[in-house]
């Protein structure tokens, strides 16, 4: 028995659609020689649905609503969700895209509403667009169930009377973390009815809450739980995540208590074929391959001509525009195909636009959609028969999110990944089975980051006075007391001592939530202003401003380049003007890392392959460090050739922070044991560090700019410098990878735990790079290279000797 959902709208009757379309395209590829470049061709067998009948205890209202949508059975994971909810557990649903996840939270909420007219639920979405989207379908569902509870979105756009209704009456409140943090929680006394009857808190897109944002959210939820308890409720948490490697662990960190996980999906899937296509090399000197955009377009054209509806993902808006143009140009001559049936999907889409596209897709009027991020597609644009990914999205999780868009419930589908020359892409091309069994990346947060915690402790103190022995979520009372002591020192809270104990009250005339942004540590964003149009074009966080917005820097925004003419540091403004240079700039930063406190230490030691015999031991460590950095200059690098064409000085102040770091120390004896001049070894180590950085960032699912790296000396802060510096006794080169976010958001600990796989993957990355001696992409721009010594083989040689293979 099949289930239908409104998005798919029942059986399709499209004359030209037939399985042969896909086969025809594949056959064509075999003829064309495409197969030479195929690195992986794997077929995943179809998965039948695992369905169960509707639970006996299901309320009549819910049955009515489901019947209205033609749903007579539930998928196993949906039934499990109901079961866990009935038992009162917090749980996370981490099943693939389009597996009917929303019923996993909507059904328990419906049940709660059927039981009690006063019950309430809170739904959190990371963006306004998503919450507005859900609002309509949720309202419809509630109406179909015959329930009086409504659903209202509460955000900055909500008009006054709707806000009143939201406070007084509504069953489901949809909002986003920022609004919850600064609009609702600080005014919770006006939301007493909701907090007094809160049964469920639903958090969708859990995987988006990582790094700083996730660490902040975890604290917002600590405050939420505290306030709910004050008003007399103990809501259960239902979380939904795209595929990540650690859904239960991540959910537990976010919520602050044990969470059950549902990871097996009962939804059916047709046969899926996965192909990884690596464009051929056209310039071996620099390791450059044929344009992956053009190759992706070529493959897409084949699919479109074979009547296979295709979804193409680009990595950037620019990429999407380019591919769209190519596609339309090439199809201009083909009479059968209307070029307007190739559409693009950008950010800022409107819901009715999306519905139009959905409709057109179902009617067969659209043959190809070119889009950027998987998330931009919102909930349901429907699935297509084929997905082409132009460029590796950086993580396995991201890749599968995109691949998941291919395939109906029945019938075969195709996912193609076209890799670019970027090192990560080549890493995947070199070991493509990683996509299937490499282990999906983990999401990381650190809710106990001191800065973040203190900020939210302030907000919590404003919301409710603290008594002795009050915890804050999972933060124990002792820690809370220490924090309150700190706040009292700064005259933000005041302690009242009485015979009944001590209470801490908010004692300032300021409003703490307004000074805390959930997406950063510090409001210190700089605004980028286009001098030609007098408009703001973007914002940039404080740290990145130093490296990317110094005066004379070339700043890239979408597809355009701008030069920074003036940086108004005091007022946090960067004035830029559009230019068309043939170079880009990279900033030179001097960084010094000093270890403040060791938390953990370990040894990394492996026997090397013959002919080497000596076993070397590296010391690995994790702890808190002080990072001082200063941008001192920049280089102008020519596009494509990567020649150095100039240099300029930068005058910006020093930046200093405390954060967490993972480090690896290479014994000095090892360095001297190599028959290569010391400077070359040090540079090779720097190259190794760059490669490690690339692999680490991918593994942590973060922007590489959020992870800092530097080569230094762990023990002697005044140790000799790098290239050309004379060695001294006790100088052990140390590779540092540190969290760029002050206080750390959980990145370094993970790297420490995963140090062995990190090294192995780094080796793999270097092995797979197509360049000869080393390129800017794998080991980074080389500085101080002595003639005749090629760094990449040297790095690989070092790894060999250290037993890393």
């Amino acid at each position: 028995m099949s289930t239908r959902t409104p998005a798919f709208g029942g059986d399709r009757r499209i004359p030209w659609r037939s399985p042969r379309g896909l086969d025809a395209a594949l056959a064509q590829w075999r003829e064309d020689g495409v197969w030479q470049q195929v690195a992986l061709d794997r077929t995943l067998p179809p998965v039948p649905a695992r369905e169960v009948p509707l639970p006996a205890a299901l309320s009549p209202q819910t049955r009515t609503a489901l019947a209205g949508r033609g749903i007579e059975r539930l998928y196993s994971h949906q039934a499990r969700a109901l079961e866990l909810a009935a038992q009162g557990h917090d749980f996370v649903v981490a099943t693939p895209t389009a597996s009917g996840k929303s019923l996993c939270y909507n059904l328990p909420v419906l049940e709660a509403f059927a039981r009690s007219a006063d019950a309430r639920a809170l739904y959190l979405f990371p963006t306004k667009a998503l919450s507005r989207d859900q609002e309509d379908s949720l309202r419809a569902l509630l109406q179909e169930a015959g329930l009086e509870h409504g659903a209202i979105t509460y955000d900055g756009d909500t008009p006054g009377d709707a806000r009143r209704a939201a406070r007084q009456r509504t069953g489901v409140l949809l909002t986003n973390p920022d609004m919850l943090h600064s609009g609702i929680l600080p005014n919770h006394a006006g939301w007493a009815r909701m907090f007094g009857n809160l049964e469920y808190v639903v958090i969708d897109e859990l995987h988006m809450y990582r790094g700083v944002f996730g660490s902040h959210l975890a604290n917002v939820l600590r405050r939420l739980r505290r306030i709910a308890r004050f008003h007399g409720s103990d809501p259960k948490f239902i979380l939904c995540s795209a595929t990540i490697g650690n859904p239960a662990e991540h959910a537990e960190r976010i919520v602050g208590r044990p969470v059950k996980a549902i990871t097996e999906s009962g939804a059916p899937a047709g046969e899926r074929r996965l192909i990884v296509y690596n464009p051929p090399v056209v310039n071996s000197e620099l390791g450059i391959r044929a344009s992956y955009l053009k190759e992706a377009v070529r493959l897409t054209l084949d699919l479109v001509r074979a009547d296979v509806p295709t979804l193409v993902f680009g990595q950037s808006r620019n990429g999407v525009e380019v591919m769209l143009k190519y596609l339309r140009d090439r199809l201009a001559g083909d009479k059968r195909i209307d070029p307007s049936s190739i559409v693009a999907y950008r950010g800022g889409y409107l819901p009715n636009q999306r519905r139009d596209t959905e409709r057109a897709l179902r009617a067969g009027a659209i043959r190809c959609v070119v889009a950027t991020n998987a998330l931009e597609l919102g909930i349901d644009i429907g699935s297509l028969d084929a997905v082409v990914c132009a460029g590796y999205p950086g993580t396995i999780a991201g890749a599968w999110q995109r691949f998941g868009r291919a395939g109906r419930r029945q019938g075969a589908s195709l996912s193609v990944l076209v890799t670019s020359s970027a090192p990560l892409d080549q890493f995947v091309a070199g070991s493509p089975e990683h996509l299937l069994d490499g282990g999906v990346e983990h999401a990381r947060v650190d809710p106990d980051n001191v800065e973040i915690l203190i900020d939210h402790l302030k907000c919590a103190a404003f919301e409710l006075p603290f008594e002795e022995d009050d915890p804050l979520g999972d933060v124990p009372p002792e820690t809370v007391q220490e924090g309150l002591g700190f706040l009292e020192q700064h005259r933000v809270v005041h302690a009242n001592h009485s015979t009944k104990g001590t209470t801490w009250h908010w004692a300032s005339d300021a409003y703490p939530a307004s000074a805390v942004s959930l997406r950063s540590i510090g409001w210190d964003n700089f605004v980028i202003i286009d001098l030609d149009t007098d408009k703001n074009i973007a914002e940039m966080d404080f740290r990145s401003t130093h490296t990317m917005l110094h005066e004379q820097a070339i700043y890239q925004h979408d597809a355009d380049q701008y030069q920074v003419e003036r940086l108004d540091y005091e007022n946090h403004k960067a004035y830029v003007r559009k230019v068309a240079p043939d170079y880009y700039t990279t900033a030179e930063t001097r960084t010094k890392v000093t270890v403040i406190e060791d938390d953990e230490a370990a040894h990394v030691s492996h026997p090397p392959p013959p002919p080497h015999s000596k076993v070397w031991t590296m010391a690995a460590g994790l702890g808190e460090v002080s990072v001082v950095s200063k941008v001192v200059g920049y280089k102008k690098i020519k596009y494509h050739t990567h020649e150095n064409v100039g240099y300029g000085e930068v005058h910006l102040p020093v930046m200093q922070k405390h954060t967490t770091a993972f480090w690896l120390t290479i014994p000095e004896d090892f360095v001297t044991s190599l028959s290569v001049p010391r400077p070359a070894v040090i540079d090779a180590l720097r190259g190794l560090l760059n490669a490690m950085h690339t692999v680490a960032a991918a593994g942590l699912m973060i922007d590489p700019r959020d992870l800092g790296r530097t080569l230094g000396d762990k023990d002697d802060p005044d140790g000799p410098a790098s290239s050309g510096g004379g060695g001294g006794p006790g100088f052990d080169p140390t590779l540092f990878l540190y969290d760029e976010i002050p206080g750390g958001v959980g990145l370094a600990p993970r790297l420490f735990d995963e140090r062995e796989p990190l090294l192995v993957r780094t080796r793999r990355l270097l092995d797979n790079c197509g360049c000869n001696g080393g390129c800017p992409a794998c080991i980074g721009p080389t500085v101080g290279v002595e003639a005749g010594v090629r760094p990449r083989p040297l790095v690989i040689g070092i790894l060999d000797r250290l037993g890393i293979r």
Binding site: T127, K128, G156, D178, M179, G183, G347, N373, V450, D455, E463, L464, E482, F486, N496, T503, W506, A507, D509, Y511, S514, A515, S517, R519, W523, D524, N525, L531, D534, N536, I537, E539, T547, I554, Y555, Q556, H557, Y569, E570, N571, A587, K592, E597, N644, V645, G646, Y647, E649, P653, V654, H658, P679, P704, R709, T710, L711, A721, G724, G725, V783
Partner: protein, 592 residues
């Protein structure tokens, strides 16, 4: 100390500057200049220099991510901007701090190559946002400065303007001089922030770095002897109460408080435009005004609840003072009692501020919130009556202009929260006494104002300011009292001068028209025409006359004559329609 405690200790205080040994001129060593693939056309030497070792302890991190990366993730930043605007909408927090002397910074930026001035070494530390009260930056103004210093000034002005706009736009309260507070804050920051320091954090430091010792002589936090009033044991527990009793002829300015007791409810219902108040026994009204530690939110506490009511002829004032944070319950219990005995409450801006806040305090103290009573908010009445003449309706202003009361040494509203918070920490009691006096004045003023309004509204007094009379006329009209409205309007029109005369005549004529008194209407409009000082007024008069002559008098010639003057007001299309129609009617009337 625990690990967390150690981390706390290292947490930077905003504004703390930590100079780090910046890299000195690179020590020349025997290291060879690294060869480059290309010889740069310019700056070759600098580049080569950078390739050399840079001094002890420094590592040249030569591979920073190239700047071709895209701007920070689209969705995130876009939604963060949304979130920021939501947060700003949701709250009425301060916007940007006003920068102080940034000329020093501009000078520092325009320095000769290679030199970095002392003050520029200030470290911008890990502590980002800990500074309180600093809200996110609103979008830049996009001004193009002509010079660094000019730009700084322009930015300062633009931000101040934006801040003022934002406050004026969003402010519902209308009171509590925020601008003054802004000025105070900026002043505080300017005073406290080190000269030439880096903007934000220095300003943040000023926020944090309140004087370690409270201003004035230190006081034992448990010593309340300096606070007026005394601790009373009540049914609800101990409350610190300040009591005073006023005779009915006690005057606030030149307005006595007594009359408020006997104000007829029907009158109140009229000038308050609230029919629900028509049966209220005003002698049992409860006057309420609070002094608080903030403007909104669960952390804002009303530390002084001022209550006034009539017992017999006398006006009793009881002010409940919160000695220590967290001891609100008895006060709220007392308030509940008085509310139960009252027929309604009288406040000044209580509908948006005091009442919702008090309700929240019941919730925060786990007490059932009282039922919402009938509520007379004098702010709205005062605004309707006096805004025309005074431009605004702040109580202090109304006091001066309508009641003739000028306070001496009054504690400004924006200082109140800090004085109290200081007091709680051991600050001086005399400033708190000032707050109590301020609050007392507020409550007595309300009673005086109520009496005064009722008296002035009872009938048209020829000695009233014509602008007030016209306002009363409008209020009466809205309240459905056509007769009184007409009387007010007539007297207003007769006495008004300047531009107000025409307004009054126009309104007077309009009222006449509504009661179908065409003669009076025509007279009034002619008078308005005579007194009109601008096109708006004469246009309105012409239009009304055109309609009058067309529809009532059927005098199409005169109608046309007036209609010719209304084109700019109505727009061509409507005007043409009118002209055509009148001409048609005229032709029909003539031709038969």
């Amino acid at each position: 100390m625990s690990r967390f405690g150690r981390k706390l200790a290292r947490l930077k205080m905003p504004g703390a500057t930590e100079t780090v040994e910046s890299a000195d001129a690179p020590a020349s060593t025997a290291a060879p200049t690294p060869p480059n693939t290309q010889t740069p056309s310019e700056g070759a030497e600098s580049f080569a220099r950078a390739g050399r070792p840079l001094g002890r302890g420094w590592d040249l991190d030569a591979g920073q991510a190239q700047t071709s990366a895209r701007a920070p993730a689209g969705d995130g930043i876009r939604d963060e901007s949304d979130a920021i605007s939501h947060a700003l909408d949701a709250m009425r927090g301060d916007s940007d701090a006003i920068s102080h002397d940034s000329d020093a910074i501009s000078d520092a930026m325009a320095r000769p190559e290679g030199a970095i001035p002392e003050d520029a070494r200030a470290t911008v530390g890990a502590q980002g946002p800990a500074a309180q009260g600093l809200a996110p930056r609103s979008a830049a103004q996009g001004l193009v400065p002509r010079s660094a210093a000019d730009g700084a000034r322009m930015n300062r002005i633009a931000r101040l303007q934006a801040r003022i706009d934002a406050m004026v736009g969003r402010r519902q309260n209308g009171l509590r001089s925020e601008l003054a507070e802004a000025g105070r804050r900026s002043e505080a920051r300017t005073r406290a922030a080190p000269a030439g320091a880096w903007g934000r954090l220095a300003r943040g430091a000023a926020e944090h770095a309140r004087p370690a010792e409270p201003a004035g002589p230190a006081r034992d936090p448990d010593d309340f002897s300096g606070v007026p009033g005394a601790l009373e044991e009540t049914d609800h527990g101990p409350i610190h109460v300040v009591s005073e009793v006023f005779d009915p002829d006690h005057c606030h300015g030149h307005a006595p408080v007594g009359p408020a007791r006997a104000v007829p409810a029907a009158e109140v219902a009229r000038f308050a435009l609230d029919a629900e108040l028509a049966d209220v026994d005003m002698s049992r009204a409860l006057y309420v005004d609070t002094e608080t530690t903030g403007l909104y939110g669960s952390g804002t506490v009303p530390f002084l609840i001022g209550l006034g009511w009539f017992e017999g002829e006398q006006f009793h004032l009881r002010q409940l003072f919160l000695r220590r944070l967290g001891e609100e319950r008895p006060m709220l219990g007392f308030l509940s009692d008085r509310l139960a005995r009252a027929s309604c409450i009288v406040t000044y801006n209580g509908k948006s501020f005091d009442w919702p806040l008090l309700c929240q305090r019941f919730v925060m103290n786990r007490l059932p919130p009282p039922e919402t009573p009938l509520h007379l908010d004098l702010l709205h009445c005062a605004r309707r009556a006096y805004k025309k003449r005074l431009g605004g309706a702040r109580l202090v202003h109304i006091e001066e202009q309508v009641l003739g009361m000028t306070r001496v040494d009054d504690t400004p509203g924006h200082e109140i929260p800090l004085i109290y918070l200081d007091f709680v920490r051991g600050g001086p009691a005399d400033r708190v006494a000032g707050i109590i006096e301020h609050n007392a004045h507020d409550i007595v003023a309300m009673a005086a104002l109520l009496g005064r309004l009722a008296q002035r509204f009872a009938r048209a007094h020829r000695d009233d300011d014509p602008r007030d009379l016209l306002s009363y006329a409008r209020i009466a009209a809205r309240a459905g009292d056509a007769e009184r409205a007409a009387e007010f309007a007539r007297v207003a029109a007769e006495r008004a001068t300047g531009g107000h005369a025409a307004d009054a005549w126009l309104f007077h004529a309009d009222l006449a028209r509504k009661r179908r008194d065409w003669d009076t209407a025509e007279q009034g409009l002619e008078a308005a025409l005579a007194e009109a000082v601008d096109d708006e007024q004469s246009g309105a008069a012409h239009l009304a006359l055109a309609k009058l002559f067309e529809h009532r008098r059927k005098d199409f010639d005169r109608a046309l004559r007036h209609a010719y003057h209304t084109r700019w007001m109505e727009g061509s299309a409507a005007w043409q329609k009118r002209i055509d129609r009148i001409e048609r009617k005229r032709a029909r009337a003539a031709g038969g």
